[in-house]
């Protein structure tokens, strides 16, 4: 049996085990409101998927989270370069990093609610949560670039562009990939939390909030499943993209 098939079977086994635990607990409790059965959640999910607005809702939430995340990747990397290159920028901006990291996400959501349009607020929150992570990771990557390799590039006169492409960027890449995988989860969690609190139209968060208000626990869990699945699929896609780029490099 190949390693891949073995890993797949183990993964399936683990999933079946936890589904069974869930099913036994749900049957034992016997109250849909407290803990619906896995099959009720699956049926609810199927009903949602068949609704006309489902894909539009998912698409809009996705757009907000991915938009915030992508902006954070760009801005975070830029801040990392600037704070590494210029000490004054680092002195000026590093307190912000600590504030954003330490403050609870709900505080930012409530504050931003006052200043920013509801439609783009989740994107802003996702951006705000991911920026420090990218910033710090990329900064570490830049600081940990092997000075001996940079000396080699200098002696052989590789020039700025080739040094950037051949030495600096590959040195930062592992740190960037780490930021990417952790950051994407962050973006989803904070973006959906922002949607639940400020309820923009056509959003997963709004639907979750409505389901909670109507005591539709199965629907809340079904939407959570959608978020988890999307997060996993997109994270894998991003990693695959990076690996392909690595192959080309």
């Amino acid at each position: 049996m190949s390693g891949k098939v073995r890993r797949l079977l183990i993964g399936l086994g683990v999933a079946v085990f936890w589904l069974a635990v869930w099913a036994v607990a749900a049957v034992a409790i016997g109250q849909e409101l407290l803990l619906p059965t896995p099959w009720l959640v699956a049926a609810t999910l199927w009903r949602l998927v068949l609704e006309a607005d489902f894909w539009l809702t998912v698409g809009m939430s996705l757009l907000r989270v991915v938009g915030g995340f992508a902006t954070a990747m760009v801005v975070g990397s830029l801040l990392a370069v600037l704070t590494t290159r210029f000490r004054v920028v680092h002195t000026l901006f590093s307190p912000l990093l600590h504030v954003v990291r330490a403050a609870p996400v709900a505080s930012f959501i409530i504050m931003a609610y006052v200043w920013i349009k509801v439609g783009i607020l989740p994107a802003f929150i996702a951006f705000l949560m991911v920026v420090p992570l990218v910033w710090e990771n990329v900064r570490q990557g830049i600081l940990h670039t092997d000075p001996k390799l940079l000396e080699m590039a200098h002696v052989f006169r590789l020039g700025r562009y080739r040094t950037l492409l051949s030495v600096r960027f590959p040195s930062v890449r592992p740190y960037l990939v780490a930021a990417l995988t952790t950051g994407f989860g962050f973006a989803w969690k904070s973006g959906i939390a922002a949607e639940v609190i400020c309820q923009p139209k056509m959003s997963i968060g709004q639907n979750m909030y409505a389901a909670k208000a109507y005591l539709e626990t199965a629907e809340v869990i079904a939407w959570t499943v959608v978020v988890v699945l999307l997060s996993m699929v997109l994270e894998r896609l991003l990693l695959r993209l990076f690996k392909r780029q690595e192959g080309k490099a």
Partner: protein, 209 residues
């Protein structure tokens, strides 16, 4: 412009390495810096490579410099061949150089991490030779190579030295002799003086307290 140093002084913090040192390299041939550890051999190479700036005086460097460092300094994310082509050598020249230095066609396409220490050293040598700099600096270039292996690199370096100056740092006299190097003993730091002084090679740098 002749390659070398003109009244160069340099120090690491409070430790002076050279003071008012003047040194002109020949147009071709191998010069071997010879002396005890800490006598400034690597520092002289680093000054020539442009990795250190003199406190005073002038380092006259050519347009392009090739160098084998004490460590291999290969890029781990590139194959052996890509490491050799990085400074500008075309694929054919790089492949020929790697083959001449003893790497098989499969090893040429291998990432450094999958090569032995000796093979990585040979890739570093091939990179410096294929880059065809106007000055070749070799800092313990045969580190980790057995005699049979470094002997294969000797004709390649000797051929290079027929056209351009090569500066060698080594602790093994046999390697300098195999390359037909002019020995330049370094007595200790701080180095001072002038080289060459006429034809008499014994009148070279002195160490002054």
């Amino acid at each position: 412009m002749s390659i070398g140093m003109d009244s160069v002084s340099f120090a690491y913090g409070d430790t002076p390495i050279c003071r008012d040192l003047t040194w002109t390299l020949p147009e071709s041939g191998v010069v071997c810096l010879w002396g005890p550890s800490g006598c400034g051999k690597t520092t002289l190479l680093r000054l020539l490579a442009g990795l250190e700036r003199p406190i005073s005086g002038q380092v006259n460097r050519p347009e392009t410099v090739s160098m084998v460092f004490q460590e291999d300094r290969l890029l781990p994310w590139l194959t052996a061949l890509e490491n050799v082509t990085l400074p500008g050598a075309d694929r054919q020249t790089a492949t020929e150089m790697l083959s001449a230095i003893g790497l098989s066609p499969e090893e040429v396409q291998t990432m450094p991490v999958n090569l032995s220490g000796g093979q990585q050293r040979r890739v570093a040598l091939a990179r410096a030779l294929a880059a065809e700099g106007d000055l070749l600096l070799l800092d313990e270039p045969f580190n980790g190579l057995d005699e049979a292996t470094w002997q294969t690199a000797v004709p390649l370096i000797a051929d290079y030295a027929t056209r351009r100056p090569v500066v060698l740092v080594t602790h093994i006299l046999a390697q300098a002799e195999a390359l037909g190097a002019v020995m330049l003993p370094l007595p200790g730091i701080p180095l001072t003086g002038r080289w060459p002084k006429g034809e008499n090679l014994s009148e070279n740098f002195t160490a002054k307290p």
